[in-house]
Amino acid sequence: MRALAVLIAVSVGLVTLAGYFLPVQVPFLNLILSWALIMAGTATFIGVFNLISMHGLKITRREKGSGYSVFLILAVFSTFALGLSSSPTGVPLTFLFNAIILPTQTSLMAVLAITLLYSAIRLLRYRPTMMSIVFLISVIVILLGYVTLPFGDVPIISTWIRPWVMQVLAVGGARGLLLGIALGTLVTGLRVLFAVDRPYGGGNK
């Protein structure tokens, strides 16, 4: 089973990668991707099943906070039942999206505003290093440059400092971070393609 898993991962990976560079491979690539999409769709159900089983276990063991798990399981089943009874664009699912998902997501984002402000203050209080001071100065400069005050924009900061910080200094750092992430992805991906790492249960080295 291990050898088969390694063979599948390497061959499918190499054929998919070849699809990027060889136009002849494109129809084959599309077929491979559509199969992967079907499997990913099935894997979604595994994820949801795992969520339900974990919370079901919490309820049966009467663990602390298991009462909240009842809400979660009821919500999963009722949403899925409503979704199956109509369609994703039908009234029940649109209603659930507009009544629960959208307000909750926006409210969590709103809570994030206060949390970020609080953590920025804590950062300066508990870790006043050079890096955190520069970080907070750049936050203040960018926010001052964005904000529209009753008397208008903040002179110099809005017109000169903020654009320069965003378009030059931040771009330099962001480009370095992006290149680092891409190089890391490349190396990790090649390790998987050459079966050095086997995260699919083929016996990790």
Binding site: A9, G41, S107, A113, M131, L136, A170
Partner: protein, 231 residues
């Protein structure tokens, strides 16, 4: 008076907003109920989308109504999807490894292709183009200004990469492990660039979060005013 679906949705949305915002006074049961329900509804919603947009049109319907060649081709994802389902049982989970290997292989190849064509090549060209006089002339930009800005961006990119270089040698005198002097200096410059970049990202996220806060407060006030009537 008949109650409209919009009104019921508004009441539920208002309740969930208040329950989530109650976290600002501390973790409490109302916040927990709202967040657990949200996770449940989201999971059910995702499962529904996966069924309607993926499994039904790409697997179930073609398998029922498709031709023999189409059914034969669908045999592979059907078999692998069945193997993926083996993940449910801890005893049978090993059987899922070929299907997981397929997903990992495709995902890895897409990640490599995306990193190459989406990040590495465009970012390298952007770095190089700043030093091209022809491009600056075509954009009616001052070449000297472009050159200085390109130099700063290049210095930022290199020093940021150096910041994550952890190779070091042991000094024979005191036995301490230290990076080379030049690497240490470049890493310090890189830390400044990283701090500025993260500061800009933080400011962007904070602005978006404040906008969401204003929108929620606006919705709550509108709902209250719609109940009590114009003041």
């Amino acid at each position: 008076m008949p109650v409209s679906l919009d009104f019921i949705g508004g009441v539920i949305g208002f309740a969930f907003t208040i329950m989530i915002l109650s976290y600002l006074i501390g973790d409490n049961p109302l916040y927990r109920i709202a967040s657990y329900t949200f996770v449940g509804v989201s999971a059910g919603y995702i499962a529904t989308i996966a069924y309607w947009h993926v499994l039904l049109p790409k697997l179930i319907l073609p398998f029922i109504s498709g031709g023999s060649s189409e059914r034969l081709l669908l045999g592979v994802p059907l078999l692998f999807s069945t193997l993926v389902l083996m993940k449910i049982s801890p005893r049978l989970t090993r059987l899922a490894s070929p299907a997981m290997a397929y997903l990992v292989g495709v995902g890895t190849a897409l990640a490599i292709g995306g990193a190459l064509s989406g990040t590495l090549v465009p970012q390298f060209f952007s770095l190089i183009n700043a030093f091209d006089a022809d491009i600056a002339t075509a954009r009616n930009a001052n070449f000297l200004e472009e050159l200085v800005e390109g130099g700063i961006i290049l210095a930022g990119a290199i020093s940021t990469l150096v910041y994550f270089h952890y190779g070091a040698k042991k000094h024979s005198e005191d036995g301490a492990v230290k990076r080379m002097g030049l690497i240490e200096l470049l890493a310090w410059v890189g830390s400044i660039f990283i701090a500025i970049t993260l500061g800009v990202i933080f400011a962007g996220v904070f602005s978006a979060a404040v906008t969401a806060l204003i929108e929620r407060v606006h919705v709550v006030l509108l709902f209250i005013f719609s109940l009590i009537g114009p003041v």
